[in-house]
């Protein structure tokens, strides 16, 4: 096997996200199936309205959170594979030079699908643990008849088995696509990125100081990381604000769940992004230290560029949660008479922003200490 389980273990980020997504979706979809079974038993008009509200909530929540996380997990997977191929270019190039076919190498990438299996399986099992409480809360006011928990095999298939197979297949295909390059391109450092960059663009930035130049270059060289940073702060901002603003619109449990999932997603992606930024630039940092650039300058060049991105993510998240809650109030609860008015919650936004800035800066500090520990001899290790 060319790509081992050990490499796949680096994909815990995907497992965590898959786990969250499946946890929520299983819970809601299972509820949806079970609640549909009792549709005929509903008699009063009020119950019917409540029933429809519940069904719409399920749809919105599943589509929004499930879709969002599925997208992230896929992007993360592709990113990991690309990162893996980039960092193992030489080995893979040598294998190809020795005569291994692309397909033969690519096939071993199926193990990356295991991360999806672990995540979805845990999420699925977790959902069944929380389900009794969830069902009780959804029907707290006893507006609907008793809802029993049933096992639906199709959910197991669609949320656990299918994602595993799809992720494995996607890994193999993407790896195969990425490996299609000529052997020399794999063996030689960065030849492709170098050839792709148009020269007139460099011309424009020519007079920037080196640290600024490097900052831009770091940002540009891994665009997926920019996405992850934006996504992390987006999750943080949207989910924390939503969980507090939603108190009046939904159960407390929903709020807590949102909060936990938001934080998990935010930290997983942020952690993934920063560690890859640093590990991808260890040699650069070591070389800068050899030449006498201070720790602060190294941090500024390598991590500094992501700060504005994280603020952009925060702003988008704030707008997103506002829009989503508006939508929920307008659509889901439109038949209710006493829907609480929903307004944009400025204090919550400010608290969330302050927390965000604090956490982000603490993380940056922790990582700048890590950068400090990078030995200047790191460059001499090939």
């Amino acid at each position: 096997m060319l790509v081992g389980i050990k490499n796949a273990s680096k994909l815990t980020g995907i497992s965590i996200i898959a786990c969250c997504a499946v946890l929520i979706c299983t819970m809601f979809v299972n509820f949806y199936f079970d609640v549909r079974l009792i549709e005929n038993e509903i008699t009063s008009e009020l119950s019917m309205i409540f029933y429809h509200a519940q069904v719409s909530t399920v749809k919105v929540v599943c589509l929004v959170s499930g879709g969002c996380m599925l997208l992230t997990a896929v992007v993360m997977l592709l990113f990991y594979i690309k990162h893996y191929i980039d960092t193992h270019k030489k080995e893979l190039g040598i294998l190809k030079a020795l005569g291994y076919s692309n397909l033969k190498i690519a096939k071993s990438f199926w193990v990356f699908g295991i991360s999806a299996f672990i995540g979805t399986a845990i999420g699925y099992a977790g959902a069944f643990l929380i389900m009794p409480r969830f069902y009780a809360l959804q029907n707290e006011d006893k507006l609907l008849p008793e809802i029993a928990i049933n096992f639906h095999p199709s959910i197991l298939f669609y949320f656990v088995l299918l994602p595993t197979v799809c992720f494995s297949a996607l890994s193999v295909c993407y790896a195969w696509y990425k490996l299609k390059k000529p052997v020399l391109l794999l063996l030689k450092d960065h030849l492709q990125t170098a050839a792709k960059t148009p020269h007139h663009r460099i011309e424009k930035n020519r007079e920037l100081p080196f640290v600024e130049d490097l900052k831009r270059n770091t940002l540009k060289s891994k665009k997926a990381l920019v996405f992850f940073i934006i996504f992390a702060s987006f999750c943080f901002s949207a989910m924390t604000q939503m969980s507090f603003s939603m108190k009046d619109l939904s159960s407390e449990m929903m709020g807590v769940m949102m909060l936990v999932i938001g934080l998990v997603l935010a930290f997983t992606t942020l952690f993934l992004a920063i560690t890859t930024v640093i590990s991808g630039n260890t040699k650069t940092i070591a070389m800068m230290r050899v030449f006498g650039y201070s720790q602060k300058e190294c941090c500024r060049a390598i991590l500094g560029g992501y700060r504005p991105m994280s603020y952009i993510g925060f702003v988008i998240g704030t707008g997103y949660q506002y829009g989503l809650l508006r939508l929920m109030v307008d659509i889901v609860f439109k038949d209710f008479e006493d829907v609480p008015v929903y307004k944009f919650d400025v204090p919550v936004m400010l608290v969330s922003l302050v927390c965000f800035i604090t956490i982000y800066e603490i993380l940056m500090y922790v990582y700048s200490e890590k950068i400090k520990k990078i030995s200047v001899k790191e460059i001499m290790i090939e």
Binding site: K188, D189, H190, L191, T193, A194, A195, T197, H199, I202, E203, R206, P209, F210, V211, D213, L214, N217, T218, S221, K283, T284, M287, M288, R289, V290, F291, G292, Y293, S294, Q295, K372, V376, K377, I379, M380, E382
Partner: protein
């Protein structure tokens, strides 16, 4: 002036502990061209790393104009390197995502050197300003690393087998560049090599043998690489 006093350095722990440098003392004059010769594993690179402030000795001191750099904190050593030293390695270690211009600017910015382009011209890469390291030959890459090191106007230039990865002719060219530039910019050169021919180009030759200095001599008449004719 650089002064090393009784440098001792070991690697490993317990049973496998191994003394690489066994007490090295040495004086190096300003603007000297020093070559350190020795067999593989004799501790040349380790010694170079220690006197250049990349690594700390277990005991012993390194003085630059009377200032002990082994007593400095990590941040202070970093800023010492910024002010004083330049490096050229066998493996070049250029930043692969940055163009020739940007790589050299990495050194130039540290010394606030605005006309670093003349140095790129001087090493003959004026035409390749916007090329990336992967688009250059080995000799050209090494010239970029020379330009990068010189652009920061070092007082001392450290070279660890700078021509090790190059063919003879390119290696000769590189060394002649460095000698020419030394006359122009005035700096001390400390160069580590296996190559006896390179030693003929030096002012001072230091021979190392399993962690100790076995011989020091000065060349009365220094030769250029072409005069030696290797």
């Amino acid at each position: 002036m650089i002064k090393a006093e009784d440098i001792i350095k070991s690697y490993g722990n317990g049973e496998s502990r191994f003394q690489v440098l066994k007490g090295i003392s040495l004086d190096i004059e300003d603007n000297d061209f020093v070559v350190i010769l020795g067999a593989s594993g004799s501790g040349k690179s380790t010694f170079l790393n220690i006197i250049s402030g990349l690594e700390r000795p277990d005991s012993g001191k390194v003085f630059y104009d009377g200032k002990d750099i082994t007593a400095l904190s990590d941040n202070e050593v970093t800023s010492f390197r910024k002010e004083n030293v330049g490096f050229i390695f066998q493996q070049y270690y250029l930043l692969p995502n940055m163009s020739v211009d940007q790589n050299v600017k990495m050194g130039a910015d540290l010394a606030d050197n605005k006309d670093y382009k003349t140095i790129i011209e001087a090493v003959g890469l004026g035409e390749k300003l916007h090329k990336y390291p992967s688009e250059l030959s080995g000799g050209e890459q090494q010239r970029v690393s020379i330009a990068r090191a010189l652009a920061k106007r070092p007082k001392v230039l450290f070279l660890d087998e700078p021509t090790g990865a190059l063919d003879e002719q390119t290696g000769r060219q590189i060394l002649d560049y460095i000698c020419k530039l030394q006359k122009e910019y005035d700096f001390t050169i400390i160069l580590v090599t296996h190559n006896l021919n390179i030693a003929k180009m030096a002012d001072t030759v230091i021979k190392m043998n399993s962690g100790k200095i076995s011989e020091i001599y000065t060349n009365e008449t220094k030769k250029t690489a072409y005069e030696i004719g290797w």
